[in-house]
Assembly symmetry: C2
Homo-oligomer: 177 residues x 2
DNA sequence: ACTCGTTGTTTCGAGTTCGAAGCACAACCG
DNA sequence: CGGTTGTGCTTCGAACTCGAAACAACGAGT
């Protein structure tokens, strides 16, 4: 899988990825994809939840109180409308509640129900087991240390870099005050 | 993001993920997700391709001759029907051709066209640039070494573990009708 | 208080994914 | 040979995602 992809031989750009970078990139992509796919299968079979729904429940279970839609969406989904859809499903299933915020009439506060919490903690062990057996099984203590360190740095770098997709709502260029 | 998720206190299983594992898991997930999302945005803007389509072209450009649908799908998409759909789009765009195999009447051979190759190599540098700036920028030589080594091991482990989704077609409930 | 730009959320349409069912050919076995 | 099983691909329907546009409420400036 790397005959000509590793070298950009135009002599002009010279910006190709060297074979080690290529290998790391492909391996990372595929591993993440495999992991996600298997986790998804498991969650669906175990609790009838999609990965996204599970993540949302996790956030809500971990939070002290209710969260707004925007807070909840952050990092899980890349569009607000996607969250609206999923929240609708979760609400219909009785796992969360949505209610208008008293402070801000626009905001919707989302809170996990007892049923939601119960479901979440029921399937959590299995989820953890899947992650452990797929991801951490072949790793040593040292590997784990390195991986965590590296991925945290990469993630923070990525978070910082770009205006997330929700950048500008208008095509307006802001002017300095 | 880790108040009770890191400990499963049932006392029975005792199989929770410790905080470092949790951190590595979350960071990996989010980083992969961010990377994929940005790559996708770039590819769409640059060449009107989805990530999947780009991967398919990459495989075909890297291969010597034509590939069957099954060979092509492997590792890119988790369902055959998904590939049929994308191959249809790519064919309609004139980037690939599909033709029946002479050896096996059932098989469809997929081959990249000159236009497809040209498009691929036109957007490749930009793609590489995105990956470089998002993923490899914050990494040292040492990090790269570790990451590549770790991810390759993890990926191979994951590949080996389970019967991929295309497992058993059987469903021995062969019934009349 | 009024206006105008901003922000939080939802609605809508288009595109993409998967799994199950179906079709046609291949391969194996008596 | 003829039948049964297996394989490669496609069709179909359901579910999910995103982005653009719509809406309503907030808030700053006047």
């Amino acid at each position: 899988m790397s005959k000509q992809l590793d070298v950009v031989d135009d002599g002009d750009v010279g910006e190709g990825l060297d074979p080690r970078q290529l290998g790391a990139y492909f391996a990372l992509s595929e591993a993440a994809s495999l992991l996600q796919h298997h986790v998804e299968q498991h969650l669906r079979a175990e609790g009838g939840l999609s990965y996204v729904q599970f993540q949302l429940l996790a956030r809500l279970a971990d939070a002290d109180g209710p969260l707004t839609m925007t807070q909840l969406a952050d990092g899980v989904v890349y569009s607000r409308s996607g969250l609206t859809y999923q929240a609708g499903l979760l609400e219909k299933a009785g796992l969360i509640t949505r209610s208008p915020s008293p402070d801000d009439e626009r905001a919707t506060l989302v809170e996990i129900t007892d049923a939601g919490r119960e479901l979440f903690f029921r399937i959590l062990p299995g989820h953890v087991q899947v992650v452990r057996s797929m991801l951490f099984d072949p790793l040593s203590e040292d590997d784990l240390e390195h991986l965590g360190d590296i991925m945290v740095r990469v993630r923070d770098h990525m978070r910082a870099l770009p205006p997330r997709s929700a950048a500008a709502r208008k095509g307006r260029a802001a002017r300095s005050s």
